[in-house]
């Protein structure tokens, strides 16, 4: 995967497949401890402890079309390459949190990429799911909550192309204001 936003798109798909009504993506940059943390949490059907323990193995997957699932394995590999870790907390019937720590300044950390596009794409393709994207830096915090956006838009859906374009710009500008790392 060329950048972190594509990993987020990928892992969020797992949350959607698990039947989540709420998906939270939180990115926290701790410059002091050189940490770049990405957390993707959902309230889907969760995993049993046995499954969760082996789920980062590429040959362990809940997919039925193939016997291989690479999303978590690749994400974990990228995190560990920068000296980071990938943790999975999950409870059947409650949900799952995938938390990946990357070395903020590590040369092996992929850039964040088009996170605005990713979040808007997810929201537009899954109109019934609530997405809350939080990005925290030392300068401040930006929150993109599709519930608030839908309230503003009233009957207009996020999937309307004009809205998609506008939301992407809005997110990008706000992220610039809090000086996000690349």
């Amino acid at each position: 995967m060329k950048d972190l936003s594509l990993h987020i798109l990928d892992i969020a798909q797992n949350s959607i497949a698990a039947g989540s009504g709420l998906i939270k993506v939180t990115i926290t940059e701790y410059r002091g401890s050189d940490l770049y943390r990405i957390e993707i949490g959902d309230n889907g059907k969760g995993m049993t402890p046995d499954f969760a323990a082996t789920v980062t193995d590429p040959y362990v997957t809940s997919r039925t079309t193939r016997k291989v699932g690479l999303g978590l394995s690749l994400f974990k590999q990228n995190a560990e390459r920068t000296g980071g870790t990938l943790k999975i907390l999950s409870e059947s019937g409650r949900g799952t949190i995938v938390s990946a720590d990357f070395g903020l300044s590590s040369i092996d950390r992929p850039p964040l990429g088009d996170i605005a596009g990713t979040m808007v794409l997810l929201a537009a393709a899954n109109l019934k799911t609530r997405f809350i994207y939080r990005h925290i830096t030392e300068k401040g915090e930006y929150i993109f909550d599709t519930k608030k956006v839908n309230e503003m838009l009233e009957e207009l859906p996020i999937s309307e192309p004009g809205v998609i374009r506008f939301l992407k710009e809005m997110i990008r500008e706000n992220l610039q204001e809090i000086n996000i790392a690349g």
Partner: protein, 130 residues
């Protein structure tokens, strides 16, 4: 958020002028496969391209993402369903191919190279044959 209010009224007018906006079966349906294999091969660009270009060319369509359709060897893959027709799956779709698909298949019903044939039979079909 204040700007959002401004464009909302413009978009509302656009939406109400559109015919068939309440009947999804009469719109072109485009599903872009977005599992790990798809995303890694550039399916996101293809989806962005479809959303933007269909709007520019004024073609009514519903563009969504699906999970893996099983054709990982041919990613990015896209399933297009023209109103009243069976779905057709195209493989190896990049933005250039997506452009061809819009101009030739969606606009004129002309099949473009790179179709992945259906290789399964549904239960209903089987029953009919018996």
């Amino acid at each position: 958020m204040a700007d959002l209010r401004k464009i909302k009224d413009d978009l509302r007018v656009k939406m109400s002028l559109r015919e068939n906006s309440n009947n999804p079966e009469s719109l072109v349906q485009i599903k872009v496969a977005m599992a790990t294999c798809g995303i890694a091969s550039g399916a996101k660009q293809v989806m962005d391209f479809f959303i933007e270009e269909l709007e520019k060319r004024n073609i009514q369509a519903v563009v969504t993402q699906t999970g893996c359709m099983g054709y990982c060897f041919a990613e990015p893959t896209v399933e297009i369903t023209l109103p009243g027709q069976s779905p057709v799956v195209y493989g190896y779709v990049d933005t250039k191919k997506a452009d061809d698909i819009i101009e030739k298949y969606i606009k004129n019903g002309e099949l473009v190279e790179g179709i992945i044939p259906v290789n399964y039979e549904t239960i209903e079909n089987n029953k009919e044959e018996k």
